[in-house]
Symmetry: C2
Subunit: 241 residues, 2 copies
Amino acid sequence: MDAPHARKRSAESLPAGLEGAAGLTDKRPRGRPRKTVAERDDGNRRVELVHAAARLFRRKGFDGTSTRDIATAVGMHSGSPFYHFKSKGALLHAVMAEGMQSAITRQTAALQAAEHAAPDAAALLRILVRNHFDVLLGPGSDFIPVMLYESRSVTAKQRSLLAKLQGDYEAVWAPVLEALHRQGRLRCPVKLARLLMFGALNWSVQWFDAKKGASLDELADAAMALFIGEAKAAPPRRTRS
Amino acid sequence: MDAPHARKRSAESLPAGLEGAAGLTDKRPRGRPRKTVAERDDGNRRVELVHAAARLFRRKGFDGTSTRDIATAVGMHSGSPFYHFKSKGALLHAVMAEGMQSAITRQTAALQAAEHAAPDAAALLRILVRNHFDVLLGPGSDFIPVMLYESRSVTAKQRSLLAKLQGDYEAVWAPVLEALHRQGRLRCPVKLARLLMFGALNWSVQWFDAKKGASLDELADAAMALFIGEAKAAPPRRTRS
DNA sequence: CCTACCGATCGGTAGG
DNA sequence: CCTACCGATCGGTAGG
């Protein structure tokens, strides 16, 4: 009978590039060193736990996932996650907060980079929409779906912390939507427009299939066409129906 | 110590009008009679269970609701729901299937009634959208939200049964959306338009608050304006910004 | 539909 | 981070 606690590294929960080099040789030149006395992996195991929790919470839901599931996924035993997180709910909050932080950073950077070249509000919206789809549906993106669909399991204190992050995320969109509204291209109160648009985008988590159907670019085009009646700045051809 | 199984009728789970008369007097003229030997309440208790399950599944989720919760809500003891349903999952399926049947019937009837008077595609879409909001957010509407947000807990066989109902529901919308697309008022592939629009509508379950903010009519107006750029057939005034 | 119950599983903890 | 464990709760059932 094999030892049930054989350490299993989950490659997919690590940033690309961190794996690969290590593991090819026994020497592990600069990778994680052999564990020595009084030396711990510090935050690394914590990061692995958060990634595993995100994947499981998304697939099975918060209530449907046991802390034992999460422990097994990173090669720990049942009680060990509580060495890193004081409760299952704290793990959920870590998933959500990290997902929001990452999304905010990403959208802010994309917008700032684009504003140098194309100060057109529709083009900026398209960037936000396209990135939003990537955050929701791209590879390794379990954090935001968990944030969106497991909010019921969050405590009141956690909820108020997350509300601040959600406000920051919305604040990135606000000036773009207001500009479009001023131009008459968004024919709808801005606040309701945002809620309805976020719904249209977020719902894709329920039906999107990466292996068939539209690509994320096509999704973004369709959403833009639906919301403000134009897919791109310069449509390659015009179809007459 | 009171008997823990004092029968508690849950008034809110009954159609309006069924309660009220009964309960005011001890004679219960025509209401549910005293239970006599070999006489059961037949389907009534079953209906109560489905309603209580819908409410609890919506508020706490399928995994977060125990069959004991449901039993207590209708004044039963822990094992009794399994006299009516063979499993917790069967109760979930009953909630979803009943919700879909009801929504399909409602939308079909509304569309048929309207087609006599106003064969305008935009007006028909507005009816579908308004009714959809009512099904999602109106009083006593827990069934469809459960259908939408607890699909993860459904078995493969149940999923295929529900997929047929979902297809029927989509079929009600299809001709309206196709007409709008032909008229150039829906600038987006019809299939993607349906998915994005349903998302925009369904997401309202997450943020709508009946006690503040927009009414269901205002929501429908905003959605119509966002999707096809017109809120009503004859806008009362035009705002220039 | 109640009573009484079962085996399984769960979040979490003490102590090392 | 493992070992060993606890009390609570869960879906479900037999037998009436």
